[in-house]
Amino acid sequence: MNGLFAGLLAIGLGLGVTAWADTDSSTPSTPSPETILTVSGMVDGNDAIDVLKLDRAMLMKMKQTEFGTTTIWTNGVQKFRGVPLLHLLNETMVNGERIVAYAINDYSIEIPLTDISEEAPIIAYERNGKPMSVRDKGPLWIVYPYDSSPKYRTETIYTRSIWQLDRIEVVN
């Protein structure tokens, strides 16, 4: 069913099936741009763990969302652009009950799928119109529109706002 998963994803992402590889195939067949996010999980009806490596260009081709908000870690209103997490998960067709997100420094958090909505969180790849460096909590940052509702201003949400994101696992 590998082919089907890849095919479906290809339709969704407009990408070649070549992006898909087993966890053990460390060397891609063609030189690929730098992977910035790895999504792994079980595709529906498949017992094996599929891994999807996404580079910046692929993320930017997905549905984009943009909002401005202040955060407790920055000064002033920040404008974030990125992919809604739910959209990303739907596209990859992995299923599970929660995701585990990892940062470069191996900091990790869990988000139940039921807590993920169309609007929030997003996987931001731009802040104030510029790509984010590691120093600026990049390249990816799970952010919520904190100013829009008190429900995004809880400690749980702050904890889930993981920066320097590089991996997402969908688990049961």
């Binding site: 870690w73 920055t74 000064n75 470069i104 590691v134 120093r135 600026d136 008190p150 904890t159 320097q164």
Partner: protein
């Protein structure tokens, strides 16, 4: 304080409290919401993580120094992660908290410097980075302590903050507790107020119910039928009495039209019209008119008289009629019986009075005959014996005549036929004349009659002189009658300058027993029958006097001591008046004809007539001289001065005309005396002869006492010798000149129609207004005679007096006047 006001204030207070609580709750909610938004994420984690990253960076530095270039990318990664951590501290919301502490701000500044100094090395080439590793390690070493202090300081700051927040929460919770307590108190207060309201309401409703029950009891026990009807006249409520009176039970009454039920058949139509009026105009025939009597029908069909009052009320915004009804058949019947009894009694009384009057009158005529006959006999009978009998007849006749006259006068006074006069006269003169006149009578009984000094304020007064004189005459007469060889005194005085004049007639006679004092003014009272023969009387004198005094608005009374004498007093209102001026027509007449105590000559061949006149005159206190034929009349007039002469016209031998001529011709004392003709027939030509002969007035037989009295008063107007002219030719001339004869004649014809309709058989047309109008028309034509009669008709119509005679006069007058007026208008 009144309960309503108190409740109101409590309510206001409650509302204020609730508002306060509401405001507090909102405030607390707001703060709780603020609490819900965490200002920072896990502080301990963030701070410790920063340290962890710093240590990892130091390890990476060591690693790079040891292994060389291979691990430089790892070093760079570590630095970048550390950089982002520290920049979070520098830029995030910690910062604002941290910089409040000056030492923290210093640490932060040093951290920033450390980053800024390190960045160029990290971003530089690998060689340069390796070259500087040593310095970077020492930098890191030196900043380590700063970071440590920063973290510790921040931890204590956030611990304080946390404490502060907990305190805040506690305060908020306390406020909530207090507010809840307040709310509970407010609620308890509210419950208290509500319970009071409920209690009050319950009390009011209980009182209402009691009041209603009482009202209900009143209504139900009322003897009057009480019916409440809606606008259409349908019975809404009724009481038991209504069922009793109308015969319908309550179910039969309710929702039925009362008018249909109880209006008798013959009144149905009009009642419905009345009700229709109520509905359309809103004005009821019966509503608000108080008690009215109506005919109502019982269920059995019996019609009875009911007393009904209907009033209008509003019930729930609708108009209702409340009707009280009472069956008054019994009362009406009782009233009718009473009225009938009263009418019967009055009719009986009237019949008695009439009988008395008629009898007296009828007795008088034959009595006059007897007296006349006795008088004739006197000349023919010479025997002493028979003369004595004749005297008895004459005395008895005189007495009987006196009685009859008394009774007649009494009935006349009772019927109030004679109006009370109010004329101006000289009271002092009246009293002097009266005493002078009665002196001979007094002296005949050996009495002396005195008049005490008349006070100055007794002079000209206004009143009924004639009646006053009658009473005084009666009192003086009584005094003389019941006194032998004693004194009779007349006193007069005015009360305190008021209108009231008191007269006292005192005598030294037999007196009256005290038990009789109250009776003597009653009718037909003679106290001493044994005395009667001498002082005969009907016993009517004093009752007549009493009636006269009362008719004058005065009072009369008596004090007496048997054996010592009596004192009769009377008080009569006699307001002072001015002495009549010479220019006054009436005063002239009275001057010519003294109204009191006149010396009068009656020349009349008919004994009965003469007797009647003389008796009348004598009773009025006049001195009368009789003459039975013309010659003796002339002789009497030649011998003394008379104040007035009554002269019969048709007499055997010298008639009244001739006698008058003789009197006027001779230079005798009475040649200027007023002569009044007495005749049954007075044709205009006769009148002319009388006037030519020198007569002053005409009294047509039979004449009334009033006419006679008018003559005695000097009022000759009603007894004119010449008929008034019926046409004023000057006015008629004017009309003729102004309108022309033809037009005037046409107008006269119109006037005839007007007069005919006014005098016609239809009494409805004979109104005061119509007489007034026609009288005006008559005056326009100068028909003065007719005008006068019509004016009298007008006032008669106003007084609702009988007009038959006047209408006859008017017709006669018109019949005589019309041809004359037409003839006058037609002549050039």
């Amino acid at each position: 304080m009144r309960p309503r006001l108190r409740n109101f204030l409590v309510l206001i207070a409650l509302i204020v409290i609730v508002f306060q609580i509401g405001a507090r709750v909102l405030d607390v909610t707001d703060r709780l919401e603020q609490r819900a938004s965490a200002p920072v994420d896990s502080v301990q984690w963030t701070l410790s993580q920063t340290e962890v990253e710093f240590f990892k960076y130091q390890i990476a530095l060591e690693q790079a120094q040891r292994t060389g270039t291979t691990d430089l990318s790892a070093l760079r990664q570590r630095f970048n992660i550390l950089y982002s951590r520290i920049s979070s501290l520098l830029e995030g919301r910690f910062y604002s908290v941290l910089v409040e502490r000056s030492d923290q701000a210093q640490h932060l500044e040093q951290l920033r410097n450390f980053l800024n100094n390190t960045v160029p090395l990290i971003d530089g080439s690998d060689a340069e980075l390796l070259h500087n590793i040593d310095r970077m390690r020492s930098d890191a070493q030196s900043i380590n302590l700063q970071l440590r202090n920063l973290v510790l300081g921040a931890m204590s700051s956030f611990a304080e903050m946390s404490d502060q927040q907990r305190n805040d929460v506690t305060v908020v919770l306390w406020e909530l507790v207090v507010m809840t307590a307040c709310l509970i108190i407010a609620l308890i207060l509210l419950i208290w107020v509500l319970s009071r309201v409920v209690t009050t309401t319950r009390k009011i409703s209980r009182e209402n119910a009691e009041g209603r029950a009482r009202l209900e009891a009143m209504i139900q026990t009322s003897q009057d039928a009480i019916l409440v009807m809606d606008e259409l006249g349908r019975v809404i409520e009724s009481n038991e009495a209504a069922s009793d009176i109308l015969g319908y039970d309550q179910t039969e009454l309710h929702d039925h039209n009362l008018a249909d039920l109880i209006t008798p058949e013959h009144l149905q139509a009009s009642h419905h019209e009345g009700l229709q009026d109520v509905l359309e105009i809103g004005e009821a025939q019966l509503v608000g008119r108080g008690l009215v009597q109506v005919e109502a029908r019982h269920k059995s069909g019996r019609v009875f008289t009911a007393e009904l009052s209907v009033s209008q009320a509003n019930s729930d915004g609708k108009r209702v009629f409340v009707s009280f009804m009472r069956d008054i058949s019994d009362r009406i019947e009782a009233e009718n019986t009473l009225r009938q009894a009263r009418d019967d009694a009055q009719a009986g009384e009237r019949a008695k009075a009439d009988l008395l009057a008629v009898m007296s009158h009828e007795i008088r005529t034959p009595l006059n005959g007897i007296m006349g006959a006795a008088n004739l006999l006197r000349d023919k009978i010479k025997e002493t014996e028979n003369t004595r009998y004749l005297e008895v007849i004459e005395n008895s006749g005189q007495l009987l005549m006196h009685h009859v006259n008394d009774v007649l006068e009494l009935s006349r006074l009772d019927s109030n036929r004679a109006p009370v006069q109010a004329i101006s006269f000289d009271l002092a003169t009246l009293l002097r004349d009266l005493v002078e006149l009665q002196n001979p009578n007094a002296e005949a009984s050996g009495n002396h009659l005195h008049l005490s000094t008349i006070p100055e304020d007794i002079a000209w007064v206004t009143g009924d002189e004639k009646r006053l004189q009658r009473v005084l005459l009666n009192l003086i007469g009584n005094g003389i009658k019941f006194t032998q060889s004693g004194d009779i005194q007349l006193d007069v005085e005015r009360h305190n300058n008021s209108d009231m004049v008191e007269f006292r007639v005192s005598d030294t006679g037999v007196g009256i027993a005290s038990e009789n004092l109250e009776k003597i003014f009653d009718d037909f009272v003679t106290l001493d029958p044994s005395y009667g023969r001498k002082s005969s009387g009907t016993g009517l004198g004093l009752s007549i006097a009493k009636r006269l005094v009362h008719s004058l608005g005065g009072e009369i009374g008596v004090e007496s001591e048997p054996g010592e004498g009596s004192l009769f007093w009377m008080r009569v209102p006699l307001p002072k008046s001015k002495a009549s001026l010479p220019g006054d027509v009436y005063a002239r007449a009275t001057a010519q004809l003294p109204t009191h105590a006149m010396n009068i000559l009656v020349v009349e061949d008919n004994d009965i007539n003469r007797l009647v006149i003389c008796e009348n005159l004598q009773r009025s206190g006049h001195t009368v001289t009789e003459a039975s034929d013309g010659e003796s009349g002339v002789q009497q007039a030649a011998h003394q001065k008379f104040d007035l002469i009554f002269m019969d016209i048709s007499m055997p031998g010298m008639d009244g005309i001739a006698a008058t001529r003789a009197i006027r011709k001779g230079a005798t004392p009475s040649c200027d005396t007023t002569i009044v003709a007495l005749t049954a027939q007075a044709q205009p030509e006769d009148r002319k002869r009388m006037k030519d002969a020198g007569m002053d007035a005409l009294l047509t037989k039979p004449f009334s006492t009033d006419q006679l009295e008018a003559i005695l008063r000097g009022d000759l107007q009603d007894s004119p010798l010449t008929l008034p002219s019926t046409i004023d030719h000057h006015i008629l001339d004017d009309i003729k000149a102004t309108l022309g004869a033809d037009h005037a004649l046409a107008l006269l014809e119109e006037f005839e129609d007007e007069l005919a309709s006014c005098l016609g058989a239809n009494t409805n047309m004979q109104t005061a207004d119509s007489f007034h109008r026609v009288a005006g028309s008559a005056a326009v034509f100068g028909l003065v005679g007719l005008h006068g009669i019509l004016q009298k008709l007008e006032s008669a119509a106003k007084e609702n007096a009988s007009r038959d005679r006047l209408i006859g006069d008017a017709r006669t007058c018109w019949t005589q006047t019309q041809p004359e007026a037409i003839a006058y208008l037609k002549t050039d």
